[in-house]
C-alpha cells in the first residue's frame, strides 16, 4: 500500500478497503524501518498522527462527506509551525521550541483530514541545497545513501522517495522544493508567490518564500496544492483570487497546440550531459504529443543568481534577528542581555546561516545599499520583464530543474559558490514570483541517478504546469513501465 500514489490511497480509504489508522501505521512502520538510514524526519508525531487518523476514520464511518485526501498521511517540512509540535527549522537555535499556534498550511491540512506524520529535516532555516546544513545531521538520498537529497527540503523529498510518506510539504525560496524533487525522482511544485499562505512559515526570505506540495505524482501534487492554497487574511501578500483548477488540469493533461518555450540561458555550460539528454528527450515527447517547442531568450537570467544571493541574505539578516534568546529558543552565555544575544546567536546558528546573515547585513548597510540590495531589486525587475516577454512567445517555459544529479555528501560543503550554482535554473521563478514545477525526467546515463524537468508558468496560471507535467509524466511512465521510483534501491531490512 505505501508504494501507491496518494490518490490511490484516498480511493482505498473512501471505498473502505483500508482505514486511515492502518494506512498511517503502515507509514509509521516504514519510518521505523528505513529512517535510520535516510534521516528524513526530525520529529515523528506517532500519537498525534494516529489520533488524527482515527478521527478521520470515525467521521468517515459516521457517513460524513470527506475531503479528497482525508486520511492520507503527509510529512511536513520543519519550517512550518504546528501547535505543540517541536519546530526547529533544522537549527539548534530552536531546539525544544513548541509553537503555540498552527501555520495556515497546517490548519488547512488538518481541515482536509490529512494526517501529519511528523516534521522533516532541512537545511538550517532553509538555507542550502543539500540538507547538509541541518544542525541535526544530513538527510541521505534514498537512491544512494552517500549522496545528498537536495535542499533545503531534502527531508521532505527523501521521505517521499523512501515511501515514508506519500505526500509532503516543502517551501521554496530559490528551489528548495524543486531541486530536491529533481534529485530524488519525485514531484515538487512551487506555486505562484502568494498562492499558499506564508502565515506560520518561518521566514527565510519573505519576498521569495513560498510553500508548496511535494508528491510522487503530478496528480497527487495537484490535490495537495488545492488543499493548501487559497487566500489567507493573515498574510498580506496572499492572493485574493480563485485558486487555479490544478486538479482538473492534471487530469486533463493535454498539451496539444500549447507552445512550450525552452530557455536558451538555462542549458549548456555547467549542465551535466546526462541531465541535458533527458531534458531533450522530454521535449521530444511533448512535441510528439502535439506541443510546439520554441526557443526563448531571457538574457538577464545570467544575473539572477547574483541578485538572489543579495536579496535572500539581506531579508534573512532581518528575519533571523528575532532569534535572540529573549522570548523563545535556546539561551546561552553570561552577562548582559546583549552578551547573551551575541553568544546565543554564535552557538545557535550554523556556518551557512551566519555567512548569509553577515552578507545580508553588509548588503543593507548604509553606503552599500544602492550598490547591492538596490541593484539586486532592479535585476529582479529585469528578470520579470524577461519572463513577460518569454510568455508572449510561449504558454509555459521549461528547463532542467538542476544542472546536475545528486552530488556526494560533503563534496561541495566548503565551496559556497559551487553550492549556490545548484539553484541557477530554479531561482529566476522565485525572483519573478511565478510558479515552477519539477518532475522526474529519467535517470542520467552517467550515474543512474534521477534528473528533473522544470516547467514554469505565468503568475496565477499554475494550472498550466500541471497540464504539461501530467502529459509528460504519463508518457514517461509508459516508457519506464511504471513510476521511476520503482527502480530505486530497496531500503531497510538488510
Amino acid at each position: 500500500m505505501i508504494n501507491k500514489s496518494a490518490v490511490e490511497m484516498a480511493e482505498s480509504l473512501s471505498k473502505g478497503e483500508i482505514t486511515s489508522v492502518e494506512l498511517t501505521k503502515a507509514h509509521l512502520n516504514q519510518i521505523n524501518e528505513v529512517d535510520g538510514q535516510v534521516h528524513a524526519f526530525l520529529h515523528v508525531d506517532t500519537q498525534g498522527a494516529l489520533d488524527q487518523a482515527s478521527q478521520v476514520d470515525a467521521k468517515r464511518s459516521a457517513g460524513e462527506k470527506m475531503p479528497a485526501l482525508a486520511g492520507v498521511p503527509l510529512a511536513l517540512k520543519d519550517v512550518l509551525v504546528q501547535k505543540g509540535i517541536p519546530t526547529t527549522c533544522g537549527s539548534k537555535m530552536l531546539e525544544g521550541w513548541r509553537p503555540p499556534y498552527d501555520s495556515t498550511v497546517v490548519r488547512k491540512l488538518k481541515e482536509n483530514g490529512i494526517v501529519i506524520l511528523g516534521k522533516t529535516n532541512m537545511d538550517e532555516f532553509a538555507m542550502g541545497s543539500s540538507t547538509e546544513n541541518s544542525a541535526y545531521g544530513p538527510t541521505k538520498n534514498p537512491w544512494d545513501l552517500t549522496r545528498i537529497p537536495g535542499g533545503s527540503g531534502g527531508g521532505s523529498s527523501a521521505s517521499l522517495a523512501s515511501f515514508q510518506a506519500p505526500l509532503a510539504i516543502g517551501t521554496d525560496t530559490g528551489g528548495s522544493i524543486r531541486q530536491p524533487a529533481a534529485v530524488t525522482g519525485t514531484v515538487g511544485v512551487k506555486p505562484t508567490y502568494g498562492a499558499v499562505s506564508r502565515y506560520g512559515l518561518v521566514a527565510f526570505s519573505s519576498s521569495l518564500d513560498q510553500a508548496g506540495p511535494c508528491a510522487r505524482t503530478v496528480l497527487d501534487a495537484a490535490y495537495l496544492h488545492e488543499a493548501i492554497a487559497g487566500h489567507d487574511p493573515l498574510d498580506s501578500t496572499s492572493i485574493n483570487a480563485q485558486v487555479p483548477a490544478v486538479v482538473a488540469a492534471a487530469k486533463d493533461g493535454n498539451v496539444k497546440g500549447m507552445k512550450i518555450g525552452v530557455i536558451k540561458e538555462l542549458q549548456g555550460d555547467g549542465y551535466q550531459a546526462g541531465v541535458l539528454k533527458l531534458f531533450n528527450e522530454s521535449l521530444e515527447i511533448l512535441a510528439s504529443l502535439g506541443a510546439e517547442i520554441v526557443e526563448v531568450s531571457c538574457k538577464y537570467f545570467d544575473y539572477a543568481l547574483a541578485a538572489y544571493y543579495l536579496i535572500a541574505p539581506s531579508e534573512c539578516s532581518s528575519n533571523l534577528a528575532r532569534f535572540d534568546a529573549m522570548r523563545y529558543g535556546i539561551r546561552s552565555g553570561q552577562g548582559s542581555a546583549e552578551e547573551v544575544m551575541n553568544s546565543t546567536r554564535q552557538i545557535g546558528f550554523g556556518r551557512e546561516v551566519k555567512r548569509r546573515i553577515i552578507l545580508g547585513t553588509y548588503a543593507l548597510s548604509s553606503g552599500y545599499y544602492d550598490a547591492y540590495y538596490g541593484s539586486a531589486q532592479k535585476v529582479r525587475t529585469l528578470i520579470s520583464r524577461d519572463f513577460e516577454s518569454a510568455f508572449k512567445l510561449a504558454d509555459v517555459l521549461v528547463s532542467p530543474t538542476a544542472p546536475t544529479t545528486a552530488f556526494k555528501i560533503g563534496e561541495k560543503s566548503n565551496d559556497p559558490i559551487a553550492m549556490y550554482l545548484n539553484d541557477i535554473a530554479t531561482i529566476p521563478t522565485n525572483l519573478a514570483g511565478i510558479g515552477g514545477m519539477s518532475l522526474p525526467s529519467g535517470l542520467a546515463a552517467e550515474d543512474g541517478l534521477p534528473a528533473g524537468f522544470q516547467i514554469m508558468a505565468p503568475a496565477m496560471k499554475d494550472d498550466l504546469m500541471y497540464k504539461v507535467g501530467a502529459a509528460l509524466e504519463a508518457e514517461l511512465n509508459t516508457k519506464w513501465q511504471g513510476p521511476i521510483l520503482n527502480s530505486a534501491p530497496k531500503l531497510g531490512a538488510k
Partner: protein
C-alpha cells in the same frame, strides 16, 4: 575586487549580534570577498531607468478591520520563554538606554 577585512566582518558581526570566533572572522572575510565579487555584477545592469522590485506581486492596500481578536493565553505567550517571572519574560540585564 572586493576586499573585506577581518575588522569589517567584526563590525558586521556586531551589528548582527553574533559573537564570531577569530577563525570565523578570518574565514568569512575571505569568503565574503569572493561572494561579493560574484554578486557585484548586478550593478552592471541596474540602470537608473530600471525601477526596483520589492514585492513580486503588484498588490496594494491590504488592510484588516480594526477588530479585536483573541490573544494567546499568558501561558501560551510565555511557553517558549527561557526564563519567566511575574508573567513576564525574564531577560538578563539590559545595557544602554531606556
Amino acid at each position: 575586487m572586493s576586499n573585506i577585512s577581518r575588522d569589517d566582518v567584526a563590525n558586521l558581526a556586531k551589528l548582527a549580534r553574533i559573537d564570531l570566533s577569530e577563525d570565523e572572522l578570518a574565514g568569512l572575510a575571505k569568503e565574503l570577498s569572493v561572494i561579493l565579487d560574484a554578486v557585484a555584477r548586478v550593478q552592471e545592469v541596474a540602470g537608473e531607468d530600471v525601477p526596483p522590485t520589492s514585492h513580486p506581486l503588484p498588490l496594494v492596500n491590504v488592510f484588516r478591520e480594526d477588530v479585536v481578536r483573541p490573544s494567546l493565553t499568558t501561558e501560551e505567550a510565555l511557553s517558549g520563554a527561557p526564563e519567566q517571572e511575574e508573567q513576564r519574560f525574564k531577560v538578563p540585564q539590559i545595557l544602554g538606554e531606556e
